[in-house]
């Protein structure tokens, strides 16, 4: 990081710019990188979801705009940008306009917490896992606000459901996170990844001791993301479009963006916790083997780490899409019962098991 900062100041000096500009703008740069990367990923993700769902149902998916429909989402985004921004007459104007931002901004923030490689994570704190969970639950406020401010009964019911769902699924999620923290003995996400290094390739990943935890986490993450089969807040056949019924144009796009970005981040988080994050599944990095130059090998290792993380993330996203394609939607009382009666006890069991494992086997 310091090396990068040095390079940046050097670059500014070349153009005769004072150093304080560098001091003030340098912390913003990662955020810009993050924002652009996130939007690109989301654009790709939307296309991927449509394509994958099409393959599951023997269709072709979008293939009109650009090769293999690559620019389809861009076209959609332009369409949404050009649309009129409508605020319904009966709506609470301020809150109605605030809600999409409240849903979107926290997602941008937590994106920086994910360790992309062993050197570069934009924000690294000793408690970043905790911070992640904290900020990740803010968008639900945006959803509640959207439902409340829309002055629409469907939206209201949808947002109630979303909040109830988020609260009940947060608990097992956190308990599984605790079990991972116990295994890694750290709350820092990078440390959690590094704790998964072992002598044999991919045997140290936490998915093996905490497979039950992984399943619980996967289910809870699906619920947190309001994805099928837990898509009650926006259940199309019941609530038309749930909390975002009244939203259109760019405001809807914000919700949409936040939803997909959150999906990517949740999966990346899951990969970090259970699938060894940026670690290579072979136990060594390919670039170390194939590139002789040490300097370039080191640089390319970082990129390879990003690649492995993305690969694992996309695998998890693919699983989520398969789930979406197969399962019918749950009922609201069924959903609550499942969280409190099944997942919470199971997550306790998982935590207990992990503690025993840590105490008797791992520690030795």
């Amino acid at each position: 990081m310091e090396y990068l900062y040095f390079l940046y100041i050097e670059l500014l000096h070349k153009y005769n710019l004072p150093e304080f500009i560098g001091m003030t703008t340098f912390p913003l740069l990662p955020f810009c990188v993050v924002a652009v990367a996130l939007i690109l990923v989301v654009l790709f993700l939307v296309l991927m979801e449509r394509k994958v769902l099409a393959f599951f149902t023997q269709r072709k998916g979008p293939n009109r705009v650009g090769p293999w429909g690559l620019f389809q989402t861009i076209a959609d985004a332009i369409k949404l940008l050009c649309k009129e921004n409508i605020t319904p007459t009966g709506a609470e104007k301020f809150m109605f306009n605030l809600a999409p931002l409240l849903a979107f901004v926290p997602v941008m923030v937590i994106w920086g917490l994910i360790p992309f490689s062993s050197e570069f994570d934009f924000m690294s704190y000793s408690v970043s896992a905790l911070l992640f969970m904290t900020i990740a639950s803010i968008p639900i406020l945006g959803i509640l606000l959207a439902g409340y401010a829309s002055n629409n009964k469907y939206s209201l019911i949808g947002s109630f459901r979303a909040v109830a769902q988020a609260i009940s699924y947060e608990l097992p999620l956190v308990f599984v996170l605790v079990s991972v923290v116990v295994l890694a003995s750290s709350l820092n996400l990078r440390q959690i990844v590094l704790a998964q290094i072992s002598v044999y390739p991919f045997c140290g990943w936490f998915i093996f001791p905490a497979f039950l935890g992984f399943l619980i986490f996967f289910i809870c993450a699906t619920a947190e993301l309001n994805r099928c089969p837990f898509d009650l807040p926006e259940a199309e056949s019941e609530l038309v479009s749930g909390y975002n019924t009244e939203y259109s144009g760019m405001k809807f796009a914000f919700f949409f963006l936040a939803e997909y970005a959150m999906m990517f981040i949740m999966c990346a988080f899951m990969a970090t916790l259970f699938l060894g994050g940026f670690l290579s599944p072979f136990g060594f990095y390919l670039s170390e083997k194939f590139i002789n130059n040490t300097f370039w090998a080191q640089i390319s290792v970082y990129f390879e780490q990003v690649f492995w993380l993305f690969l694992k993330t996309f695998f998890l996203i693919f699983c989520m899409m398969l789930v979406r394609a197969t399962l019918p939607r749950l009922k609201s009382n069924q959903l609550m019962g499942f969280a409190w009666k099944v997942l919470l006890p199971l997550s306790f069991l998982n935590l207990f098991f992990i503690c025993c494992y840590k105490y008797f086997i791992y520690a030795k």
């Binding site: 149902t57 023997q58 019911i157 099928c228 089969p229 197969t326 009922k331 609201s332 009382n333 069924q334």
Partner: protein, 375 residues
């Protein structure tokens, strides 16, 4: 809001899960439905009034549109009534072709129901699978009749034209691959714990209330009453014309509880029974030949004075067509009785104290189609 703590909510007339333009006025207490009032009439086209200004033949193509998913049944009910009034004999081969097309139509109608029902429940993929298979049937119909939904294939006393042996071969192929596809749907859905908990013991219809509300078809059979007008002595009609259903070997599936799951199960089993019937009809048609073209060639048909009501076991319950003639070229009165009309009526009873998401499980499983309700 009418009362305290109650949320009044309008489902429809334009809503993704009402399969058309049904409007339901619900009163919710939390997520529990306290009362429900169906409002219909948004698709009223005056089918019965229209009959009085059209001649018998002119009215025939319009009949297909009463229930656009199973047009052959409506056509048959109307043709049967007119044939009985005029005492036209219908040849055996054309009866067989009628049964064949009707059973295929039942299959396609059930396929569409299955897809949309599961879509209402939130499962997206089965919709595309069922539509894929339904498309095969529709293509076969198009090859036979010239159109995919509005067939206008039956005429008084016969059919428009005979089926070709190529077409029969295609059906044989279709019947061979279809059981595998049905097995696929069952793999995805039948034992799925989410689906079973959402539908079992939901929307229970007792035998007594089903009869009280005049529920017919698969919905009635799901309560355990084994009634099917295909199996009674004079199938479809109390008429001298005998249909060929007694000659065919088929089972009528029934269930016991009358909940949403049983209605699903009965319909899926019925799809299998349809395949059985289809293959038997194809076998008969391949080995026998005969005349199918109607003896009546003139477009203006004069029907002797009288009245007749013919009943068909349509996919959504008994479809009755009452025709009263005063001896002229136009029907004096035509009255349609359709299954969905009564299924809508029982909704408030089934929805009482149900959860709001149960609305989709119950309404979807009843298989209501709105043009049939409003006519």
């Amino acid at each position: 809001m009418t009362t305290k703590n109650k949320l009044k909510i309008n489902i429809g007339p334009q809503h993704p899960s009402t399969h058309g333009v049904l409007r339901l006025v619900l009163e919710l207490e939390g997520e529990i439905i306290k009362s429900c009032e169906p409002v219909i009439g948004y698709l009223h086209r005056g089918m019965e009034k229209m009959a009085e200004s059209h001649t018998y033949l002119q009215y025939l193509p319009i009949v297909d549109r009463i229930d656009y998913l199973s047009g052959f049944f409506n056509s048959f009910a109307y043709c049967n009534a007119v044939e009985n009034l005029t005492q036209i004999e219908v040849s055996k081969r054309s009866q067989y072709i009628r049964v064949l097309t009707m059973e295929m139509n039942r299959l396609s109608s059930h396929l569409l129901w299955l897809g949309t029902f599961l879509l209402d429940m939130g499962a997206t993929s089965p919709l595309f699978y069922t539509f894929r298979d339904r498309e095969v049937i529709l293509s076969l119909f198009e090859e036979l009749t010239g159109q995919r939904l509005m067939y206008n294939y039956y005429t008084f006393g016969g059919l428009r034209h005979d089926v070709s042996s190529d077409w029969l071969d295609k059906i044989t192929d279709f019947v061979k691959i279809m059981p595998k596809k049905i097995q696929d749907y069952e793999n995805i859905i039948t034992n799925n714990p989410i689906f079973t908990t959402r539908t079992k013991n939901i929307g229970i219809m007792s035998k007594n209330s089903a009869l009280q509300y005049s529920i017919t078809g698969p919905n009635l059979r799901a309560t355990g009453i084994n009634v099917d007008s295909r199996k009674t002595i004079h199938p479809f009609a109390c008429s001298p014309i005998q249909l060929i259903y007694p000659e065919l070997d088929f089972q009528i599936p029934t269930a016991q509880n009358g909940d949403s799951f049983d209605r699903y199960k009965v319909r899926v089993e019925e799809m299998k029974a349809c395949l059985k019937l289809i293959s038997q009809c194809v076998d008969w048609l391949k080995s026998n030949s005969g005349e199918v073209i109607s003896p009546i060639k003139q477009p203006l048909l004069k029907v002797p004075e009288g009245e007749f009501i013919s009943n068909v076991e349509a996919p959504r319950g008994v479809c009755s067509c009452y025709v009263k003639s005063d001896g002229s070229t136009k029907p004096y009165r035509v009255k349609w009785r359709t299954g969905s009309f009564y299924a809508v009526q029982i909704l408030p009873k089934l929805l009482e104290n149900a959860f709001y998401p149960d609305l989709m499980a119950i309404f979807g499983s009843l298989d209501v189609i709105l043009p049939e309700v409003d006519r």
